[in-house]
Every structure is written in structure tokens, then in C-alpha cells.
Symmetry: C2
Subunit: 189 residues, 2 copies
DNA sequence: CGTGTCATGTAATTTGTTACATGATTGA
DNA sequence: TCAATCATGTAACAAATTACATGACACG
């Protein structure tokens, strides 16, 4: 039941609709958690039923109506309680890594293609995160912002996201280079 | 159905028992995938039924008997096919990041405690991976090993694991420092 | 004499993914 | 006019976690 807490944490900053939350959790702008829209709509229903968030209907004439959610007192208490429980380590589950593990036994060209794709994906994220961080700093230096800023949670998690994608990018590039060099010297299979 | 391929990739190097696989996948020595023992035993049964791996019984007198598994021709073909399908991007799901996202609203001391724990965990993994890499290189330089080594898949995925844990460690330390500095200047809540 | 390792599972439950469904509006 | 965006769901299925179960040997 960690999705609940991720949703609560996301709603701390602003009132959001299921749709807005879904975008953030799906495209990975929410660096702390990933989830599909369907999961979020379901979780929002449960959270509201349990009184941890409160929704209010916003009637729109040009767009379909939507419901904006806010964390309640009980929701905040729940989050606080969650924080006191031990955090379990994160574990990797990555298709691409499985494929790289299997290199020497599989086609190198295909692998290089996928590594290139992943590197491009990482680069796009790096640029996005860099801009997001810049926006949050709003002119201040990082040092200043982190010391005196009102709300630094999202900034800190975004920093982790940035470093993660930089790690991805670097590793992909390095791996591509290694595989290319071998292609010449050692014929595969 | 990606666990299948992770298991196949792990069995490429050596014949392993369910128990040995479980240890690798559970404690995260298998940097490409994580899974619990129960999942692995179930998957091994399915893989054998589908003819992608072959098991052989090893009778032991001092220890319970065990089954060692090898990848079959069909298994290798399956892996090869898997490699040609597009790899989906990995997504983060991390309790600790959820908690950091919620900082400014929750108790800082507890958070610092958990970040410290995570940093120590990361450091232990860094040391483990560093040694594993050293072992695989077996005296050669990294450049030399990666160019001429027989089997570099596990080395490459281990490199990613190492970088990941270094990222974790650095970020935890930085976050701890930031939170500590604020504790003095801005009283919480 | 208790704790940890070796060794393998079954069953119940919780999460997460994929497929399907609807319908208006905005921009290319 | 075609695709994308806004907006919310339901239902079926696959994957992962948690709990439960067994039993011998090794180490301190």
C-alpha cells in the first residue's frame, strides 16, 4: 500500500485532478513513484472513501467536469505515520539490463539500437528535469533555495531523478562504445 | 513475462539451483532484475515445462537434494527473440523518495535516520560490486577485459548496479546535509 | 540448544498491467 | 478531417508479495 502515500505526497503541493496526477505518475515527472492512470483513479476513490483526501467537483463548460483533490488532516497523519515505518530498499527491474546481461549470446546490433533509444530517452528526461529544477529555484542559487525555500521536497526528488537519468545515459553510451569496439575484434557467436 | 528472460539470462553463465538463483535475485546481486524465491521456484517449474530450461537432480548426502538448471536451445532462441522486442523504460518506485517528497510536512529527524540507513546500505553494495568487478577482471585492466573478455554481460550490468548505488549514496548524503542545515534555520511545522 | 543456511515448495492476497469504453473540444 | 488532449472509469488478467509449511545439518 505504498501508492496511497505516493498520491498523498503528490497532493501536498497543489490540488490536482485524477487526470493531472495520472500524467505526472505515468510520464515519470513524479520521480518518486510510477503508476498508470487506471491505478490512480482507483486509488483516489479508495483514498476519498477512507477520508484521507477530499475531492471537489469543478464544473467546466468547454471541457468535461473534473474533480480536484486535497489532502485532509487524516491524510497528513497517515503520511506522517508512513514516514516512521522502515523504507524497504528499491530493486531494479529492467528489460534492457536483462538483454545486456545476455550479450555475448545474442545479436549485438539490436542491442546497440535499444541502448541508443534508451540513451535518447534519458537525455530528454535530463533536459526536462533540468528545466523543472531551474523553475523551482526561480532565480535563486541552489544553495540558497535549499536552505531557505518553503518547499524543497519536490526539488530533492527531482535531483535524484536527474542523477538517475544521467547515470542511465552515461552507462548506455559507455556500453554502446564497448559493444562497438568488440564487434570489430571478436566475431559474435 | 519478463522474469522468464531474466532467469534465462542468469542461467547463461552457469548451472544454478533454484536456491542459488533466489539468493542472487533477492539480495540484488542480479543487478538486472529482482524477485523473491517463491516467484523463482514457480517460474523455474514453468520454464522447464515449456522446455526452455533443463533441470538435473543432484543427490547430496549431507544436504538436501537439489536441481540444477541449464538453458536449452529453445531457451536461447526465446531469449534472442525477447531481445528483438522493444525494451520499455524503467520506472522508479521508492518508499524513501515518497518520504523525501513529503518533507516540509513530516518529521525531519525520522527522515534523516532513514536516509542514513539507505546510505549505509548503498555503501555496502558499492563495496560488494567493486569486489565482484575486480574478480571478473581477474587482473586485467577494465579496458582490456571489456575488449577481449569472453563474457562481459554480467560485468556491464554490474557496472550499472555500481553506478546506481553510488548515485543513491551521493544523493542520500546530500539530502541529509540539506535537511540538517535547515533544521537550525527554519523550525519545522 | 538456538540461530542460520541449505533446499523446495503451496496458497492467499495485494499490486500492477492491458484491454475496453465514452465523448466533447482543440489544433494541424 | 484526423489525431491529440481533456476527463473518468470498469473488467479481466498477469505479476509480485506475504504468510505458511517442512526438515536436516552446521556453527557457536
Amino acid at each position: 500500500m505504498a501508492l496511497r502515500h505516493a498520491v498523498l505526497a503528490a497532493l501536498l503541493d497543489e490540488e490536482l485532478s485524477g487526470y493531472q496526477l495520472a500524467k505526472a505518475f505515468d510520464l515519470g515527472v513524479a520521480n518518486f513513484w510510477h503508476a498508470q492512470p487506471q491505478q490512480l483513479y482507483a486509488e483516489l476513490t479508495r483514498l476519498e472513501k477512507d477520508g484521507l483526501i477530499a475531492g471537489r467537483e469543478v464544473v467546466q463548460d468547454t471541457r468535461p467536469n473534473k474533480r480536484l483533490f486535497t489532502v485532509t488532516e487524516a491524510g497528513l497523519a497517515e503520511l506522517e505515520h508512513f514516514t516512521t515505518t522502515a523504507a524497504k530498499p528499491t530493486f531494479v527491474r529492467d528489460d534492457l539490463l536483462v538483454k545486456v546481461q545476455a550479450t555475448d549470446h545474442i545479436d549485438t546490433a539490436t542491442l546497440i539500437g535499444q541502448l541508443t533509444e534508451r540513451a535518447a530517452f534519458a537525455k530528454a528526461k535530463i533536459e526536462l528535469f533540468t528545466k523543472l529544477l531551474e523553475g523551482m529555484r526561480a532565480g535563486r542559487t541552489e544553495e540558497d533555495f535549499l536552505r531557505h525555500g518553503e518547499r524543497i521536497g519536490p526539488y530533492l526528488t527531482c535531483l535524484r531523478g536527474l542523477a538517475f537519468e544521467q547515470g542511465n545515459h552515461d552507462w548506455c553510451q559507455r556500453t554502446i562504445a564497448v559493444l562497438r569496439k568488440r564487434q570489430g575484434t571478436r566475431p559474435r557467436r
